[in-house]
């Protein structure tokens, strides 16, 4: 079964607000120092190396992790809302396998209209 990824944030925000983005990934985060009880073989290291957050295609946050991060890692950070758009989180493994989770952030201005990234002059 595919590993689960969770992403949560406030869906509708005002311009200039700091949005807290919470993520949770399902992963064993094998440290590479743990032994099998019966055979004594050390399990090879397998961790999530990096988490990259993109907002409308631009990298806004980056985390590089080592073996000291706990299993099923949780991560929360902030971004400033400028315009509506796509929030994309990418988890990268030791085996270089990547998994994504995406979400849409709706940003409204003081009048209550949505602020779109592309402006049409009609």
């Amino acid at each position: 079964m595919e590993k689960l990824r969770r992403l949560k944030y406030k869906k509708i925000v005002k311009v200039g607000e700091n949005v807290k983005i919470k993520t949770l990934a399902e992963h064993e985060m094998e440290t590479g120092v743990r032994r099998d009880n019966i055979t004594g073989i050390i399990y090879p290291r397998l961790i999530i190396q990096s988490v990259i957050a993109k907002y409308n295609g631009k990298i806004v946050f980056k985390a590089n992790w080592f073996s000291g991060v706990s299993a099923n890692p949780y991560l929360a950070f902030y971004i400033t809302a400028k315009e509506s758009g796509l929030i994309e989180i990418e988890w990268k493994d030791d085996h270089a396998t990547t998994s994504y989770k995406r979400g849409y952030l709706k940003v409204i201005n003081e009048k209550g209209n949505e602020v779109l990234p592309v402006k049409y002059d009609l």
Binding site: N18, V33, S67, S70, Y74, A76, Y78, T80
Partner: protein, 166 residues
């Protein structure tokens, strides 16, 4: 006469072997850094000298600014596998005042470096919370590298009831 010859030959051989052995065993390179970025599959005991070296590598000769980092860690944790940790860098997050890299270190872990976070001006608030592992009760250290060369440093002691590395 025979015995003397044999003995001297033996001694010569031992000397030769020991010389060659010494050369091949210690080449003086820091082996740990090479494996930090690679998949390590062996046990390593924590080494305070190595930790010191890593911290010196990050800070170098830059000046340390006070009150730059806020660190929130519980005083006691039940299990070293899950240590909830929140830190905040006190800055305006404008184009000329934001943290470039923030290092999180657990000083008595076999691999002291826990995480490196990279921030951008779009973040708005340089606050991150996550969970880390700790081997024993020890200090957690946050080192923030600002984009203008300042350094922020903060450390706090955490009591761990049950270590993580077992």
């Amino acid at each position: 006469m025979e015995k003397l010859k044999r003995n001297t030959l033996k001694k010569l051989l031992v000397l030769l072997v020991s010389c060659i052995g010494k050369v091949s065993y210690s080449n003086g390179n820091p082996y740990r850094d090479r494996f930090q970025s690679y998949r390590q599959t062996f046990r390593i005991e924590p080494n305070p000298i190595e930790t010191e070296r890593i911290i010196n590598n990050i800070i170098g000769e830059k000046k340390i600014t006070k009150n730059l980092v806020d660190l929130q860690v519980p005083d006691t944790v039940e299990d070293g596998n899950v240590v909830p940790l929140t830190f905040k860098i006190n800055c305006s997050m404008k184009k000329d005042d934001y943290p470039k890299k923030v290092h999180v270190l657990a000083l008595e872990n076999p691999f002291p470096e826990v995480a490196i976070y990279e921030f951008f001006p779009e973040n708005g608030n340089a606050e991150v919370s996550f969970r880390c592992r700790m081997r024993t009760s020890s200090f957690i250290m946050i080192i923030a590298e600002m984009n203008d060369g300042r350094i922020g440093k903060e450390k706090k002691y955490v009591d761990v009831m049950l270590g993580a590395c077992s």
